[in-house]
């Protein structure tokens, strides 16, 4: 028997379907269906995922969509051809664009004119009456493209209703077709289907009543079951429809935008011209032979595969950014090519790293090249608006990101839908640490010991796991743009994003990759903003430094600073792990930085490559290579594979992989964990090595290293791009620290450290930080010249109004503008000139910004509170009510706490300094005293929790950084200790750690100090006590 299933609702009809698209396709294939139509409601979001599986299984996939029209009628539109697909995609776009995000609005009137080639099935709902005029209109419009779909789900009244539809079919000559809706691929998903429905209605399942499906019949059925439900003629009709569908997703041919090429030139000629012009600028003295050869090979490959437009598009965007003085840098597999270097997409010269040609573009797989371009995060919007303006909203749109259920959201939503106690769910969601495995949830519930009905609890645990990975809604990708020659809506529907004037397509990054559509990643990078700001500041007093290119290369002082792990705020090497590695690896040149960035990654760590690398680099271990080929690949990294490119090269030179196969291996490595494709390469890899004469042990060990890269290996090309910014930021920190900290503070939020920590670090570097002052500060933090004790000019950082968290940015800018060159004379003067009222003035007073006008905080606040709206009629009466405050000035403790409340930082004493002489902190060792302690000696330290990190590679170890008045202390908490003190670790603001100190001095420039925690106590309440009169300490 032949049968094609025509109505499938996947979980991309959010919170309605209960199976993934791929699950449907696999099940349909198992059941021997002729074809399967994916018909999500006004959406094509799940079709690519279904298509990928259908391709794998060689199964016929039909594309369609279901609609609920504004007149209440339900119907399904199916795309039998490419033109019909474009119509359908356009129709969905129309319906989605005219409604708010997540909704749609489709009218019967639109159908006739917009779906001229689609096949239409009217859903025959039980008890639903459709006006005869509507049926006649549909029949007239769609003629032989119209069916009545019978959806037999064993509901009450269906049998009687069928007779009514049959009569209508006979009377109007519209054929009936079996069109049972599937909400899940197998009936076992019924509980999950009910739960997602309950989540959609925001009701507990117990109160859902008839809103949930009355039975679990909406699944893919066997031929035998179908024969019992539908007359044979209706089943046969499904294949008639399927046979009329010839459209395959393969036909979606992508057209690059072509206006970038002058009419008189071919795309490759234009690209060659641009490259030639760039070449002259990059190498005024002539192109090195190796680079010239690679360049020609790249250009030939680009021409052969037809990717000229891609490079031209990226070049155009980068050109615009450069014209507007927006810092940007490309990275990605193709970004560090010689072509991109000549196009100024990247600053990495070919001789700086060993670019692998096979990573450039894979000929075998014919996949689009990958270039991500980072822009300053505060100016990326300008670039986005340029793209919209140049290509129009019809031709440029942002890719979607599918927001899926994770553990915490699953616990909240499933628990709520099951009617569990909100406080229990809140507790569970908060208790689930980001490192917990799914099984931990069960343990957590058991540990609480709360009385939850056993059956319900079992359902809860099962459903929480089942819903993981289910799409929840579409969101906006961080910056993936799709640009096409024709309307994008012909390829994929567009819908409104939550941001005003933004549209997203219904496919995500993986879908675009699968469909081989061009995507340019226009990404935001905070460090680029910081660098641009720093360069602008430096240029004012050192005009020679205009851009990143003017920064001297390979500066020894900069590397010396990094070897001391003095890297707070420096791009990519400021994390705890990176800072611990810097004194060990001791970077002395650019390539060392490339390695430094790549080595502190899960891939090299899990592959056990870090220690061999460090030992070999320090000369403690002999460097050996089994063959010359391997030596050529691994020479730069002392025989230890650190980068993805090296794994690829190894597979080529030692295991006999072709370039394309090596690239496939790289992809398998990247997706390790999501699928098990990597293991498919195991035999080929090992056999290849054995065939080339390598020993079994070497082959096994090498593959284990390859596996170690799974999902987390870092490509050299990315690492090199990052290393460039890392070096630039390090150089600025070393030579222009005031500008560095000022720029970082102005670019917040970014990086690992809060403004408070950056200020602490700046002061440790003897940079004077000046408080926010109403008559001296600008809106942004700025540089100010001060005179030191010896009478020399020094650059200091003056904090700006932007640091006052509660002050509106416009108001902050207005204070600066209205001040001009004439300082404010009094609070009344400030109020009169700016129009600020008592509430804003009190915010400023609380932040101690008005000290120069209104005395201490208490007095300023007292005076600010008395300010009344200014009236011209009462021009001269404002100061007549001078009533002085009798209260004393705030104490240091009060000042510090008020600073933290208002600014998030304090230039006064550290809170730990205030507590230091009190029990139990008096017994604790300060950070500055740690070095004087005995290695592995008993120790107590206390401080404010600054960060918590638990890298996946650390075998469950948690790294906590605490801060006291003398610096940051690194605390290591083994997993066993975490179990005992989990609540304290997760919630405490001030902790006291009892443990042992580890001081590593061998083979390091700077001693590496850790405290291994044995006991952790929460003393957060002492901060609250300190705030006797103030409120919370942030």
């Amino acid at each position: 028997m032949r049968y094609a299933h025509l109505h499938t609702t996947t979980n991309f009809t959010f919170l309605a379907g209960a199976s993934h698209p791929g699950e449907y396709v696999r099940r349909a294939c198992e059941l021997g269906y002729e074809a399967l139509a994916i018909t999500d409601e006004c959406s094509l979001a799940g079709v690519v995922k279904a298509f990928v599986v259908a391709e794998e299984l060689q199964f016929k996939l039909i594309i369609g969509s279901a609609f609920r029209l504004s007149n209440g009628m339900h119907l399904i539109a199916i795309a039998p051809s490419r033109i019909a697909y474009a119509e359908l995609s356009g129709f969905i776009t129309l319906a989605r664009r005219r409604a708010p995000k997540g909704e749609y609005e489709a009218h019967l009137e639109d159908l006739r004119f917009r779906l001229r080639h689609c096949l239409i099935i009217i859903e025959a709902k039980v008890g639903e009456k459709i006006a005869e005029a509507v049926i006649d209109e549909l029949h007239k419009s769609f003629k032989s493209r119209l069916w009545i779909g019978i959806n037999h789900q064993l509901r009450g009244g269906e049998q009687f209703d069928f007779e009514r539809w049959l009569a209508l079919s006979v009377e109007k000559g519209i054929p009936l077709v079996a069109c049972g809706e599937a909400l899940m691929h197998a009936k076992e998903r019924k509980p999950l289907q009910d739960i997602v429905t309950a989540i959609r209605h925001n009701l507990p399942i117990q109160e859902m009543g008839t809103r949930i499906e009355v039975n679990g019949e909406a699944y893919l059925k066997s031929h035998g079951q179908l024969t019992l439900l539908y007359p044979q003629a209706l089943l046969d009709e499904t294949c008639i429809i399927a046979d009329r569908c010839h459209f395959s997703m393969h036909e979606l041919r992508y057209q690059y935008p072509q206006e970038l090429v002058p009419a008189t030139l071919s795309p490759i000629a234009h690209l060659r011209n641009l490259v030639a012009a760039g070449k002259l600028l990059r190498w005024p003295g002539g192109v090195p032979a190796a680079a010239a050869e690679t360049l020609e090979m790249e250009l030939q490959l680009i021409e052969e595969l037809g990717y000229e437009y891609y490079f031209l598009t990226v070049h155009d965007i980068v050109r615009y950014a450069r014209e507007k003085n927006i810092l940007c840098q490309g990275r990605g597999s193709a970004a560090n090519s010689v072509v991109c270097y000549c196009l100024f997409v990247t600053e990495i010269a070919p001789d700086q790293i060993s670019v692998l040609f096979e990573r450039f573009i894979s000929r075998e797989r014919d996949e689009p090249p990958d270039i991500d371009v980072d822009f300053e995060h505060q100016r990326r919007e300008e670039v986005i608006q340029y793209i919209y303006e140049k290509y129009g909203r019809e031709r440029a749109a942002i890719a979607a990101t599918v927001i899926t259920y994770r553990r915490r959201s699953a616990v909240r939503d499933v628990g709520k839908a099951l009617g569990l106690e909100p406080s229990l769910l809140d507790h569970l969601a908060k208790t689930i640490a980001w490192w917990d495995q799914p099984s931990e949830l069960e343990n957590t519930v058991a540990a609480i010991g709360l009385q939850v009905q056993q059956v319900l609890l079992q359902h809860f645990l099962k459903l929480c796991n089942e819903i993981l990975g289910f799409p929840r809604h579409l969101s906006q990708h961080t910056g993936g743009f799709v640009i096409s020659q024709d309307r994008i809506s012909d390829l994929v529907p567009l819908e409104n994003a939550s941001m005003p004037d933004r549209t997203i397509i219904q496919w995500d990054k993986e879908d675009l990759e699968a469909m081989r559509l061009l995507k340019v990643d226009v990404l935001a990078l905070g460090m680029l903003s910081a660098l641009r700001r720093a360069l602008e500041m430096i240029q004012r007093y050192e005009p020679a430094i205009k851009s990143l290119a003017d920064i001297p290369r390979e500066d020894p002082a900069t590397y010396e600073m990094l070897c001391q792990a003095d890297s707070v705020g420096v791009f990519q090497v400021e994390s705890r792990a990176q800072m611990a590695m810097l004194p060990r690896l001791q970077p002395r040149c650019f390539y060392d930085l490339v390695v430094q960035i790549a080595i502190v990654r899960p891939g090299p760590i899990l592959g056990d490559m870090v220690h061999p690398y460090l030992r070999r680099r320090a000369g403690l271990e002999e460097i050996t290579y089994p063959t010359d080929e391997v030596e050529a690949v691994l020479k730069l990294t002392f025989g230890v594979p650190i980068f993805q490119e090296q794994v690829m090269r190894m597979s080529m030179v030692a295991a006999g992989f072709s370039g394309g196969e090596a690239d496939e291996l790289r992809r398998a490595i990247s997706n390790w964990g999501k699928n098990s494709k990597l293991l498919m390469f195991r035999d080929k890899f090992i056999n290849g090595l054995l065939a080339n004469g390598y020993e079994q042990e070497f082959a096994e060990r090498t593959f284990e290293q390859v596996k170690g890269f799974g999902g987390y290996g870092f490509p050299e090309s990315h690492s090199a791009s990052f290393a460039l910014l890392c070096y630039a930021s390090s150089w600025i920190k070393r030579h222009h620290p005031a500008a560095f900290y000022c720029a970082l503070l102005n670019s917040q939020p970014m990086g690992f450290y809060s403004p408070s920590q950056l200020v602490q670090d700046a002061r440790q570097h003897n940079i004077k930080i000046l408080p926010v002052d109403i008559n001296r500060s600008c809106y942004d933090n700025s540089l100010e010249t001060v005179i030191d004790k010896k009478g020399r000019d020094l650059l200091a950082v003056r904090l700006g109004f932007c640091q006052v968290a509660a002050l509106n940015a416009d108001k902050g800018r207005m204070i600066e503008t209205r001040r001009g060159a004439k300082p404010y004379l009094s609070i009344e003067d400030l109020s009169r000139r700016t129009g600020l009222l008592a509430n804003n003035l009190q915010i400023l007073a609380s932040a101690d910004v008005l000290r120069s006008l209104g005395g201490n905080r208490h007095q300023a606040r007292w005076r600010a509170a008395a300010i009344q709206p200014h009236s011209a009629l009462l021009e001269n009466t404002e100061d007549c009510h001078q009533d002085e405050l009798l209260m004393a000035a705030p104490t240091t403790e009060q000042e510090v706490l008020s600073d933290y409340q208002a600014l998030g930082l304090s230039l006064r004493r550290h809170p730990m300094a205030l507590l230091r002489n009190e029990h139990p902190f008096i017994r604790c060792t300060r950070q500055s005293e740690l070095l004087t302690k005995r290695h592995q000696g008993f120790i107590q330290v206390a401080g404010i929790v600054v960060s918590r990190q638990r890298p996946g590679t650390a075998h469950g170890t948690l790294f906590v950084t605490i801060e006291d008045e003398t610096g940051s202390i690194n605390v290591i908490i083994w997993s066993r200790t975490q179990e005992h003190f989990k609540n304290v670790i997760l919630t405490a603001k001030l902790i006291l750690v009892t443990g042992t100190v580890e001081i590593l001095t061998e083979n390091v420039v700077q001693p590496v100090i850790h405290v291994i925690a044995g006991r952790i106590e929460d003393y957060s309440y002492r901060l609250a006590e300190l705030a006797a009169k103030a409120r919370n300490f942030r």
Binding site: R155, D194, T210, V214, R861, A865
Partner: protein, 505 residues
């Protein structure tokens, strides 16, 4: 600062009123917390010993103490305060309840100046008040001051009452209080904290140095008035006495209570009917004169040995006429044997309510009849309930459930019923009579048998669900018995057993 006239206020703050007013049943070992909007507002001592604190969120409290959770009931607290007012009325007529806007604190403010002579001075009076309160079991904190708010604030500072307190002493005591006692003004307290004020004395000093106007323009008129109220500050009005807030007088609750002593013991209902009628006439007069109506009356019968029994009479609609109450009383009396020889009959009506003025539409087309029939129904219902008991009379409502047996519900007469039959039941076949308990169908060799052989006609209609509770999977069929009776039969797919679930008309 100048004094207006000497008043003396005693503030009684009931510390754990949210808990004690509820009378939540629990064992002494069990921790109990009272919550409002998921925050703890009161708790037992053992809950406090476990670390539970006021203001803590419920989850934390539960994790700390495994406590019983009860929700705060302001109505219950109000009722308790009302009862306490009744008891304290004997000491002073000037009683005002006080409830904090921001916290769960509440209590009573008593103005004592006019009652001091009667009770031989403030010390004795206060002792008598506190002695009475001790018998109630409520934990009370008290404060004495020259102003009501001042007294309330001093209740947080616990000073012994000596009897020789003066306004100056009250002010000294108030000056020492932290500004946080003004918990009903969190924004103002926050602002004051940021200006360096820490005690009420700081505020007083500032006012002395400048004027109240300093606070009025910074923190608003309302707050300034509160400060003035605390200290009894004269705000400089020309005729200050005109602005003095009059002290409220407490009006004790009125209720009806009359009794008849019989000359000889009564043990037959008929013998007391006339007395009942007579008492109800008097009640009727009482209600009519005061424009009141009542829904509930209570009869108390007692014998010479002081044995007592109560008979509760309840009407669904408020009554000011005696007739229905009489009928309902008689029905109750006739339904039960008189337990002893009645010596005394008392009629008590506590909860009278103002008579609602009901407008009557000019409707000559039968509307009056409908109203009349509604009135008759309500009388019938009242009589029915008096005869068979309050809980025995119900009405039926639809319920939105996919399972037939759960799609209807018996609800109380006062509840609103759901009249819309869910669509899946409207579209499907449903029997006129749905059995409360499905009847098992025998599976004989010749077929299904339920008081005769059944033939399946239409179906199946499948119902699968309720997996979170007691899971259900059934295939329903319309079946016909040989005597042409149409029944609604189903096969339980889990048990593989056939049942009849209803009969069609």
């Amino acid at each position: 600062m100048s004094e207006r006239r000497t008043r003396l206020w005693l503030a009684l703050r009931f510390k754990d009123l949210p808990l004690s007013a509820l009378n939540a049943p629990s064992s002494p070992d069990k921790s109990v917390v009272v919550v409002e909007r998921r925050r703890v507002v009161s708790m037992t001592a053992n809950a406090a010993a476990s670390g539970v604190r006021i203001g803590m969120d419920l989850t934390t409290a539960q994790l700390l103490s495994d406590c019983q959770v009860v929700t705060r009931d302001p109505a219950c607290e109000q009722e308790t305060l009302h009862r306490l007012c009744e008891q304290l009325y004997q000491f002073t007529p000037h009683i005002e309840p006080y409830r904090s806007r921001e916290t769960a604190q509440s209590g009573l403010l008593l103005e004592l100046s006019s009652c001091l002579k009667l009770f031989s001075g403030v010390k004795k009076l206060c002792e008598a008040i506190l002695a009475l309160l001790k018998t109630t079991g409520y934990e009370v904190a008290y404060g004495l001051a020259h102003s009501s708010t001042g007294a309330w604030l001093l209740s947080f500072d616990n000073h012994e009452i000596r009897g020789d307190e003066t306004t100056a002493l009250f002010i000294i005591r108030l000056n020492k209080l932290p500004i946080q006692v003004l918990a009903d003004y969190p924004n103002e307290v926050d602002a004051l904290g940021k200006m360096g004020f820490s005690t009420l004395g700081d505020l007083a000093r500032q006012i002395s140095a400048n004027s109240v106007g300093s606070f009025t323009k910074r923190l608003g008129k309302d707050f300034a008035e509160v400060i003035c109220g605390i200290y009894g500050i004269d705000q400089g009005f020309t005729q200050a006495s005109l602005f003095v807030k009059p002290v409220e007088s407490y009006a004790p609750e009125e209720y009806f209570h009359e009794e008849v002593q019989f000359d000889y013991p009564i043990n037959i209902v008929d013998q007391i009917k006339s007395t009942i009628e007579n008492l109800l006439h008097r009640l009727s007069d009482y209600l009519r004169k005061r424009q009141l109506a009542c829904q509930h009356i209570q009869w108390r019968i007692s014998d010479i040995h002081h044995r007592q029994e109560y008979i509760q009479v309840h009407s669904d609609t408020p009554q000011s006429d005696w007739r229905l109450l009489y009928d309902l009383t008689v029905i109750q009396l006739e339904n039960k044997a008189i337990p002893f020889d009645i010596d005394c009959l008392e009629l008590i009506c506590h909860s009278a309510m103002p008579l609602q003025g009901s407008s009557q539409a000019l409707d000559f087309s039968g509307g009056r009849k409908r109203r009349g029939s509604a009135q008759e129904l309500s009388v019938t219902m009242a009589k029915l309930k008096a005869r068979v008991g309050e809980t025995a009379v119900h009405k039926v409502s639809y319920r939105d459930s996919p399972l037939p047996e759960l799609s209807n519900l018996m609800i109380g007469l006062a509840e609103k019923s759901f009249q819309q039959l869910p669509a899946i039941h409207r579209n499907g076949l449903r029997p006129a009579w749905l059995f409360a308990n499905p009847q098992i169908i025998e599976n004989r060799q010749q077929g299904l048998y339920w008081h005769g052989y059944l033939t399946l006609m239409v179906g199946p209609e499948r119902m699968v669900g309720n997996w979170w509770d007691e899971k259900v999977a059934r295939d329903y069929f319309l079946a016909r018995r040989r005597d042409n009776l149409a029944v609604w039969a189903y096969l339980d797919l889990y048990k593989r057993q056939w049942y009849v679930h209803g009969v069609f008309a």
